[in-house]
């Protein structure tokens, strides 16, 4: 068999098209990979700089969060922060929220429900993920009482 018939009979067109495509794909993938080698190496060389930059960014974010949490704390609650902290210390961490409310009412704190709500919003009291709550010492440090 000769000519185009022979090519078609042996799937020549398909083999040639597929073969060419695979060669191109292979070399394109290789060229893309090697074009990134120097960038990866550059990143690796500057990894300490990047780490420090990310660390600073995270610290700045934490600080700004803490600063942002300050204004939401009403002036009247600021005064009760110290009292609630003493109460938490007495109950022990982690503590159930109803127990804190119960103790605060027994101790005669004014508007205890509202105050606890403010403390929750200010993230001074945070959930521990297991149904109990913790006193957030980090946020407390950033609040000017």
């Amino acid at each position: 068999m000769y000519g185009l018939d022979a090519i078609s009979a042996h799937n020549g067109w398909q083999l040639a098209a597929l073969g060419t495509s695979i060669v191109f794909t292979g070399l394109i993938i290789l060229s893309l990979a090697i074009s990134q080698i120097h960038k990866v190496l550059e990143f690796w060389d500057k990894r300490h700089t990047y780490y420090q930059r990310i660390k600073k960014l995270v610290q700045r974010k934490h600080r700004s969060e803490a600063i942002v949490s300050d204004p939401v704390l009403p002036k009247n609650v600021k005064g009760s922060v110290r009292q609630f902290k003493l109460l938490v210390e007495q109950i022990g961490e982690p503590f159930p929220l109803p127990k804190l409310l119960d103790f605060s009412e027994k101790c005669g704190f004014p508007h205890s429900h509202s105050s606890v709500n403010d403390l929750l919003q200010a993230k001074l009291i945070v959930p521990d993920g297991k149904g109990y709550f913790l006193w957030n010492h980090e946020v407390e440090k950033n609040i000017k009482i």
């Binding site: 068999m1 000769y2 000519g3 185009l4 022979a6 090519i7 042996h10 020549g12 067109w13 083999l15 040639a16 597929l18 073969g19 060419t20 695979i22 060669v23 191109f24 794909t25 292979g26 070399l27 394109i28 993938i29 290789l30 060229s31 893309l32 990979a33 090697i34 074009s35 080698i37 120097h38 190496l41």
Partner: protein, 376 residues
């Protein structure tokens, strides 16, 4: 005594020689002449030429002398060809000799190496159309890769009987790159295009060169596992070179090993061209198709470079597309010569090395693909 003398005379080459042996001996002498006098690939053409002389000395059958007789010296040498031992060892040396910096500096030029492989698949179609069986057509097509070891590697598994003509065609055309390529390059480019100056490539760090053989090997062999023997040795050789700490091994690979294997390969391939086996219509077809494979590969590279220029802000000189045929470093040198004929201050050699080396990788991948399609 007279009987003994007559028997001796009847066993000499003069009595046994056929016209095919004489023709092949003349071909061998021509190749030796081209290697020595014209300096066309002397490291290849001299061993092949002399191998042809050795293979065409007519010998009595079953004397254990002929290359196709088991246990003969020539047969042991031929074992390395038939079992794909020599081509990967040559690639080891090529890897230890090659500096991949040009390719690493501008990886987009690798596409030219891919484009030149179109010659392989176009010739494959041409060979099918001329009536060759698919496995033979694939072996003929790979001549377009302009890579002798790759051509032998694929032919040994797909069409072992054609090793002689295919290897001779591949190496002869590789040697004739300075004759075949320039007219095609000039035909397909304008003077303005040939004058294009390429921007300086960026400097490539030592660590990049060190990482490349590992990344290159893993990627290429995951894509085309059939290329493992060739590309494995190529990248291993390059890793030895770039690691510096294994310099002694790299030196051995790029000098004594590659030289020894070249001698064995050249002689064995040459000796396999016994007149009665070599001088057939098929061989003529292979030579004609081999030449067209080179021409199509060269043209594909140049045309693809022009195509790339349609999208590039910083134009590339389309002449370097011709270096996509992997004849390293001959075709890159041809690009330099043709470019400098237009502008003696334009240095294209370094830029042409990128498609040239990627052509080696591309032709090995193409061989692996054809093997996986047709080897089963």
């Amino acid at each position: 005594m007279v009987d003994l003398l007559i028997e001796f005379l009847s066993n000499t080459g003069f009595a046994l020689a056929g016209y095919q042996n004489i023709i092949m001996i003349l071909v061998g002498i021509v190749l030796i002449y081209l290697g020595i006098a014209k300096k066309y690939e002397p490291f290849l053409l001299i061993p092949i030429g002399f191998g042809i002389l050795m293979g065409n000395i007519p010998v009595i059958r079953d004397f254990g002398l002929g290359i196709y007789e088991k246990g003969s010296f020539l047969n042991y040498m031929y074992y390395g060809v038939m079992h794909d031992i020599y081509p990967p060892l040559i690639f080891l040396g090529v890897g230890a000799l090659t500096d991949f910096s040009a390719m690493l500096a501008r990886p987009s030029l690798m596409l030219l190496g891919a484009a030149a492989q179109i010659g392989i698949f176009a010739t494959f179609l041409g060979a099918l159309a001329l009536g060759f069986a698919p496995n033979e057509a694939a072996s003929i097509g790979i001549i377009g890769g302009a890579d002798g070891p790759t051509a032998i590697f694929l032919t040994a598994v797909l069409a072992p009987r054609l090793i002689g003509p295919i290897a001779i065609a591949a190496y002869s055309y590789m040697a004739l790159v300075p004759v075949i390529q320039p007219p095609i390059m000039r035909l397909l480019t304008s003077r303005k295009e040939r004058l294009i100056r390429m921007e300086e490539p960026r400097e490539v760090s030592k660590r990049e060169k060190l990482i490349f053989p590992i990344v290159g090997f893993l990627l290429c062999c995951f894509i085309a596992p059939g290329a493992l023997p060739l590309l494995g040795m190529l990248f291993f050789g390059n890793l030895l070179k770039e690691s510096i700490v294994a310099e002694r091994l790299a030196r051995a690979a790029r000098s004594s090993i590659i030289d020894t294997v070249t001698i064995l390969l050249g002689l064995a391939v040459g000796a396999s061209t016994q007149g009665d086996i070599f001088l057939t219509g098929k061989s003529m077809g292979i030579f004609i198709l081999g030449a067209s494979a080179f021409a199509v590969a060269t043209a594909s590279g140049v045309i693809f470079a022009k195509f790339m220029n349609l999208f590039l802000r910083q134009k590339i000189n389309p002449l370097i597309g011709a270096a996509g045929v992997s004849a390293v470093p001959n075709s890159a040198r041809v690009v330099q010569i043709v470019g400098q004929k237009e502008d003696p201050t334009n240095f294209l050699l370094m830029h042409a090395m990128a498609p040239n080396i990627s052509g080696v990788i591309g032709s090995a991948i193409a061989a692996a693909i054809l093997w996986s399609f047709l080897g089963g």
